[in-house]
């Protein structure tokens, strides 16, 4: 297909490089330097999508970041990306894109029926209708809306692209490379300041690329190019295109997204797709320019209606005509610039100017060129469904209230200009108190909050000369403060055309008997009538109107709709715009990909992975690992085709009958030293610690100040003033911080030092009736008898030359020991244990078997110490000292904590002794009771008891103390299970604890 709307020899595209691409399956050609939008328009394609709510046909409205609706689904290098603006996406060879918001196709869209049902889809419609009946929401409304709406489909595949983060500091960050950005960057750079100049488009220069001006005897474009090339050569300047500064945060930190590879068919090797820059700047210059404002009229969303500045940009930058029979509708001089550009290329535009009799240089020029102009004329409505084919126009009275006779004139596009809206998003994000500027009917930055300075059009300055003057001096003054240099720059001679006053007119009244939709917010399908309804229904605050109607929401953030919306509210409410105020501008200014935000912290890079020194042994022996905090721990060792269930049962059984070995390196270890160490422990733990002899371990429970159990573990007195504390794997870091908090802030008089030694020691637990025999073999020189090393005893020894600590402690409830060696010797220790244990039928066991063993013993762990339980709840009240004070003790007197029917840990066995009980299930008295069925407690942990060979669970149950022997039901709506159970003691195996002492 030929590019029928492409001009010869106009624009900055590279005509030597032809690119092919596909849109909605159809093949087209464009050139290098095109955007997807300009290439489609060159081919005469205006219909790109369907609108969000009414599914009306939509085309291109802008030419860049201002575009509210030309959003496509992009296909690039076997990946797909939603929410891509066709006006920003640069063309590359092989690009593929599809329309969004339409099903089954953009030309025949079933949702367009909404357009004919629009009377039923007023403001707040979703709130009003789809909320009832409730069940319909999930089954019918929501899935339908999901399919019909949305800005594309997110890929469910892993994103293989690489995204990077970069942190940068500079003296001046300049956002936008239009005239004000270039001038201020140049002045600051000449003063020796470090400068970052960011431009969101591929080309630098902003409006200089499209306006007919002259700076220092050069065209605007040539001047921009010469400044940019000079800046690029300077070592103190970083110039970045395709880079959008999208957020202004506290402490003068700004975030910029650099699209490094999005314009290429494929990301180059070792290159990121995008890079997110966190920039801390001493001074920030906001030169983000302005966006043209639409004038609101009937059917103003029809494809072919677009901003006049966009039409000019397509023409001047891309050599593309958006139409061959254009109509320009303006309330200021900008529309004439577009008409003149058309004329220069042989296209006759008709200009409708709402003003009565405006006079200016540019109007004279238009008249001299023979352009047909109609003053006091407006477009009443665009006609045509998928493309503008004509316009209903009319004369308008001087007070703008009365329309004359409606005439219909043929046209193939309507270029609309309702004056300019400064882009104040960044300034507003910084905390700037914006102010309404009557002369331009728009908000501009007011009192600055952080070190930001807004320049040029973004500051409401619309003449080039004034913009350049203020920007040169801002760049100079701000850099002088930092570098103390004062290089004067001679100000270039500027030639531009003077503009006349714009018309304070923004919305064409409806002709009698017509009900055209007049859109304010194109992205969210918010029309004038929606705002009227919202106000009629009593919404007053602009923030409420926004949320009720969705005006100015989503990715567009009101770029083209904000001020017209405010005008409408203020008109209806009879208020002035500044008293209505504007809604908050939120970062990001434009959509940012999640990948860029995440950066390199993805997959296994999302958090550190810790491995024990024995990790490679586990790997070699078919361990299946599980995440335990940041650690990887063997969950079970797979033997042949064993399942998790079979393997863990085998491992646990072997501990109960022979001996097993478990890697316990991950347990938190804290070394505590100092003359007041015992006193510290005595205050931190609930039980008594002052009389623990050297060479003995003790189990302790620590609380938070609110009385909730924080952690448990054993602490051993290594020598007079030296203790070795263990914590659970998950709480290790918190416990250390907790101790440091009390030592540094609450009791600084205690002479104690604490330090984490988790990584310094490798640990192995050997457990089972044969563990003593194994220990004797490992340490032939020491007395390991029940008398020599009794339960809770501790010894230092030597494991074939490696320094070792032996603790007789048990989590499994069996006779057990824990051996610690220095980490470097961990693997040596492990292999020795396996080697020596062979004759005792030793098997390694993982966390799953460990859980089984502790659950059937009724030993509590993280699932019971879940941040909601006090010592009583987990039957640890015997460890709570009545004599001394400790952290959290006072809270245990709280009424609820001492209630007679307080929850308590119990055991749960299914009556059929077969059905496994899902963890997290609820316990109820009557399974058939009406919903909501009263919950008596919950299952905290479940296992298959290897001792009894039937399922067994632990539960936290209301009045658990008096519930032993009761028959209840376990209910799991998630697993659709109701299981009759009996409540038993939580100590299902060896209730007297004889084995650990044997």
């Amino acid at each position: 297909m030929s590019q029928n709307f492409r001009l010869e020899n106009v624009g900055f595209i590279n005509r030597d490089k032809k690119l092919s691409f596909k849109f909605n399956g159809k093949k087209y050609f464009g050139y290098e330097g095109d955007t997807l939008a300009s290439a489609l328009l060159a081919n005469g394609v205006h219909l790109v999508g369907r609108s969000f709510k009414y599914h009306r046909p939509r085309g291109f409205f802008g030419a860049g970041v201002d575009e509210p609706y030309a959003v496509v689904q992009l296909y690039r290098n076997n990946e797909t990306e939603p929410n891509v603006k066709a006006t920003e996406q640069e063309l590359f060879e092989g690009l593929e894109a599809k329309s969004v918001n339409c099903w089954p196709s953009v030309n025949f869209d079933i949702g367009a029926i909404n357009n004919f049902l629009k009377i039923f889809l007023p403001a707040g419609f979703y709130y009003k209708t789809f909320m009832w009946p409730k069940s319909f929401w999930y089954r019918i409304y929501e899935p339908f809306i999901r399919k019909a709406a949305g800005l594309g489909v997110v890929s469910t595949k892993h994103d293989k692209e690489r995204y990077e983060h970069k942190y940068e500091y500079c003296d001046l960050l300049i956002a936008g490379s239009g005239p004000s950005g270039l001038a201020s960057a140049y002045a600051a750079a000449k003063n020796g300041a470090s400068v970052i100049l960011a431009e969101d488009k591929p080309r630098f220069g902003g409006t200089l690329l499209t306006s007919d001006v002259n700076i220092g005897n050069q065209s605007g474009e040539d001047w921009a190019n010469s400044i940019i090339s000079e800046l690029k050569e300077m070592p103190n300047v970083t110039v970045k295109n395709r880079s959008q500064v999208f957020g202004y945060y506290d402490h003068n930190m700004l975030v910029m997204s650099e699209k490094v590879s999005d314009h290429l068919p494929k990301t180059k090797k070792y290159h990121p797709k995008q890079r997110l820059w966190y920039i801390r700047a001493k001074e920030v210059l906001i030169s983000s320019g302005s966006i043209e404002r639409p004038i609101v009229f009937g059917n103003n969303d029809t494809p072919g209606v677009m901003l006049s500045s966009a039409a000019k940009e397509y023409l001047k930058v891309y050599g593309v005509l958006v139409g061959k029979n254009p109509l320009v509708f303006t309330n200021n001089d900008s529309g004439y610039e577009t008409a003149i550009e058309f004329k220069k290329n042989g296209i006759n535009a008709i200009v409708l100017d709402s003003r009565v009799n405006p006079q200016s240089e540019i109007i004279d020029e238009a008249i001299n060129l023979g352009i047909k102009i109609k003053f006091s004329y407006v477009v009443v409505a665009a006609q045509g469904y998928k493309k503008v084919n004509s316009a209903d126009i009319s004369k308008i009275s001087d007070d703008k209230k009365q329309l004359g006779t409606i005439e219909n004139i043929k046209c193939d596009c309507i270029c609309v200009s309702g004056f300019w809206t400064p882009t104040i998003h960044l300034a507003s994000q910084s905390g700037n108190k914006t102010q309404f500027k009557e002369e331009i009917d728009a908000f501009v930055p007011g009192v600055t909050k952080q070190n930001e300075t807004t320049l040029g059009a973004a500051n409401g300055v619309f003449t080039l000369e004034e913009t350049l003057k203020s920007s040169f001096s801002a760049g100079q003054d701000l850099s002088k403060k930092i570098t103390n240099n004062d290089n004067k720059i001679s100000f270039p001679n500027v030639v531009e055309k003077k503009s006349s006053q714009h018309d304070k007119f923004w919305c064409v009244p409806l002709p009698k008997g017509k009900s055209y939709k007049r859109f304010l917010d194109f992205q969210n399908d918010v029309a004038v009538s929606d705002i009227e309804i919202a106000l009629k229904e009593g919404y007053r605050s602009i923030e409420h109107v926004k949320r009720y109607t969705t005006l100015g929401m989503a990715t567009d953030q009101g770029k083209t709709s904000n001020l017209n919306g405010l005008q409408l509210v203020s008109d209806i409410e009879n208020k002035v715009v500044p008293s209505v105020g504007h809604t908050t501008f939120r970062p990001p200014y434009t959509p940012i990909s999640i990948g860029a935000i995440v950066g390199r912290e993805v997959g296994k890079h999302s958090k550190p992975t810790r491995k024990s020194p024995m990790h490679s042994w586990h790997e070699k022996h078919n361990a299946v690992f599980v995440d335990a905090g940041v650690w990887l721990r063997p969950r079970y060792y797979k033997n042949g085709n064993e399942t998790l269930f079979e393997a863990s049962k085998r491992e646990a059984k072997n501990v109960r009958t022979n001996v097993g070995v478990c890697d316990v390196t991950t347990l938190g270890k804290i070394d505590i030293k100092g003359p007041d160490a015992a006193e510290l422990l005595n205050r931190v733990y609930t039980n008594a610690w002052l009389k623990l002899p050297v060479g003995k371990a003790r189990y302790g429970v620590m609380l938070r100040e609110d009385g909730i159990v924080m952690d448990d573990g054993t602490t051993t007195r290594i020598s007079e003033n030296h203790y070795h504390m263990t914590t659970t794997t998950a709480q290790a870091a918190n416990v250390l911080s907790h101790l440091e908090y009390y030592l540094q802030l609450v009791w600084p008089e205690l002479n104690v030092n604490v330090v984490s030694t988790t990584e310094q020691w490798a640990g192995a637990a050997i457990a089972g009736p044969k563990s003593r025999k194994l220990l004797q073999k490992l340490f032939p020189d020491i007395d390991v008898s029940n008398e020599g090393l009794p339960f809770m005893g501790y010894m230092k020894s030597d494991l074939f030359g490696a320094k070792a600590r032996i603790f007789r402690i048990s989590f499994s409830g069996e006779l057990a020991y824990e051996i610690n060696v220095e980490s470097d010797n961990g693997n040596f220790m492990w292999e020795k244990i396996i080697e020596m244990g062979e004759e005792f039928k030793i098997q390694p066991y993982g966390t799953e078997a460990l859980s089984t063993l502790r659950i059937e013993m009724g030993h509590v762990a993280g699932s019971e110490l879940d941040g909601r339980t006090i010592p009583y709840d987990t039957s640890l009240e015997g460890l709570v000292s009545k004599k001394k004070d400790f952290i959290g003790k006072r809270s245990l007197e709280r009424k609820a904590f001492t209630a007679n029917d307080r929850q308590k840990i119990v055991g749960v066995v299914p009556l059929d002794k077969k059905t496994s009980i899902p963890e997290g299930s609820h316990l109820v008295k009557d399974a058939q009771a009406q919903l909501p069925n009263k919950k008596l407690g919950h299952i905290s942990a479940s296992c298959w008891s290897v001792e009894h060979d039937n399922p067994f669970s632990l539960a936290i149950l209301k009045d658990g103390k008096n519930m032993i022997g009761e028959k209840l039901f376990v209910m799991s709506p998630l697993k659709n299970k109701i299981i009759p159970v009996e409540i038993v003691s939580s100590h299902y195996v060896d209730p007297k604890g004889e084995r650990v002492r044997s």
Partner: protein
């Protein structure tokens, strides 16, 4: 200057833990454990340099703007 993500927040620094073994009313204890003012504006708060020297420090910060005015060591009096 250290990056904020090396630090961990530790709550209101003006809260003083009651002495051990001190008789204390339910109300006073609740005030110590639970009740905080949640001010907007200048706030003296605790932070721990968890990914660094592990010191707890006091930081005077504006909760509205995140501006940091001053920092004090754990044993240093805040003015």
């Amino acid at each position: 200057m250290r990056s904020q993500n090396e630090f961990s927040y530790g709550g209101d620094a003006s809260v003083k833990r009651p002495e051990l073994n001190q008789e204390i009313s339910d109300q006073d204890w609740d005030n110590f454990v639970y009740n905080r003012k949640s001010l907007r504006g200048k706030h003296l708060e605790l932070w721990q340099h968890i990914s660094g020297c592990r010191q707890w420090i006091k930081v005077e910060r504006d909760t509205g703007t995140h501006e940091i005015f001053n920092t004090y060591k754990a044993d240093e009096a805040s003015s």
